[in-house]
Symmetry: C2
Subunit: 300 residues, 2 copies
């Protein structure tokens, strides 16, 4: 299971108590912070999300509404005497900024910050239970999407049946990984005889600021939850294109073509106080859509 | 009259819904933003303070809790199509950071930002109705205090008496500036005969992060309102000194020696949830003390 909490759902200018973009994806073991607009550290406190469980931070691009809150979190973590390592996955230029800001303050972080520049598409985190891949999205400046997947879970062992086949306990781990058992006499016990498939690992794709780009559908194919930006309603598709953003209908189209299970939309322009129309318009294209609401937690 | 609104009253780590340091000093005509911790632009919205009236921003020093919110305000002002010039008075290094952040975002501000590096003590703003001076305070890194003064107001003219003395109307401005009138026959009409003193211009001194430094008393001598940091209660004076901060008693002492009218204390450590003791301890040294409370407006 994964749980996604929205810390900010607005585009560039904070408005109507909507903060700039930030999200946290939580597993049982750890939390992944995705983008980090100004005020994210206050939002983490507000929604009682433990900073100590965040080991990876992902920054999609260097527009301020996606990263101006990062340096505040880093320095606060240090003031709170964090000890465990932190991994930051971000456009390469960000490293210089962080270094300057720490130098000007005559400060150094009391924990190890590992900076991983985003440079090519592919696997960027290979954890015990999760993988994270990055992929390019099309925006006015370099911008990245992220794809989070729970690792394939071990198959469920039917211990009673394994005993009937006299399979030694030392081989149980292999069974759970899907291997067949071969007896001393050379007889094959097919894996399916003694195990059942575990539930599929869940997946979440984050498409931050992006123009409508049909090739994204392939990149997020079949995910359980897709977050896709909808800065504007459908009537403003020209403005959306000019600013490298997307509309409701466009996000719905990506979800439909990508055959995803659910769609979450956000990054709303400060033009809009009421968001109902975003949901209506997107649902016309892709029914299983929800609004990204600040403070709400979406279970995947 | 001046009106000071507290946008953030906490020290380094935001806590208990207390934001990092930011204040806005308002006159009838314009607003001066003093320090700018993370989240300041949201605080401006929350307390309905118009960004468009801010023409000068002052940054005391480059610890993040005093400036991480600046770049967000600048970019939002630009997104909102600000046209009038903005003057930024800050430690010189900040200019490089702002330039980098704008470059990385491939953005330029749509208004003129005039960067005025703080380098020596003295007058930094000489406006129509206000002057601002900066002075050094002692902190772990270069840090500046600011002294805001309403300009001396013109004297009030008693037009009836001026007519009796047959003073031509063309000389009334000179009378209001305090000049005596000399008749054609050479008789002197003393200014006090035809004018009365206007109310004294108000003054506000801001002493941001500073260790206890008695020489400050001279710099803020006789101001109507002094803001002095009190990061810690009096029992932690050793920690305060080690970190170049001040205690309640120390702030009270500066106010007393400086013979100021009122004292406002803030920049409370996140150690403290309840602030009552700050007020009690400071009042024992300087009775006319108030706590800087977020959202409160102090009339000077």
């Amino acid at each position: 299971m994964l749980a996604l909490t929205i810390l900010g759902n607005n585009s560039a200018i904070p408005a109507f108590d909507r903060n700039p973009t930030a999200q946290v994806l939580q597993t049982q073991e750890e939390s992944f912070l995705i983008d980090c607009g100004e005020g994210t550290q206050m939002q983490l406190s507000k929604y009682k999300i433990k900073r100590s469980k965040i080991n990876h931070i992902f920054i999609s691009h260097l527009h301020g509404d996606h990263y101006f809150g990062l340096i505040g979190i880093l320095t606060s973590m240090s003031l709170l005497n964090r000890t465990q390592d932190l991994h930051l996955h971000a456009p390469p230029e960000l490293e210089q900024l962080i270094t300057l800001q720490l130098n000007f303050a005559a400060t150094h972080l009391c924990f190890n910050l590992h900076f991983h520049p985003l440079q090519k598409e592919g696997l960027i985190v290979d954890g015990n239970k999760m993988t994270v891949e990055c992929f390019k999205v099309k925006h006015r400046i370099d911008c990245w999407g992220f794809l989070f997947r729970e690792k394939k879970k071990p198959r469920k062992l039917d211990a009673e049946r394994a005993k009937i086949y006299e399979i030694p306990a030392a081989f149980y781990d292999n069974l759970q990984m899907g291997e067949d058992y071969v007896t001393k006499k050379g007889t094959i016990v097919p894996n399916e005889e003694v195990t059942t498939a575990a539930s599929k690992g869940k997946s979440y794709a984050y498409c931050a600021d992006t123009i409508f780009d049909e090739s994204l559908a392939e990149k997020v194919k079949g995910v359980d939850l897709l977050y896709h930006e909808t800065t504007y309603l459908k009537d403003l598709h020209e403005r959306a294109a000019a600013r490298f953003h997307s509309t409701t209908v466009q996000a719905g189209t990506i979800a439909k073509k990508g055959e995803v299970n659910r769609l979450l939309i956000g990054h709303f322009s400060s033009k809009y106080e009421i968001l109902d129309e975003f949901l209506q318009e997107t649902k016309e294209v892709f029914e299983n859509t929800e609004l990204a609401i600040q403070g709400s937690c979406y279970i995947i």
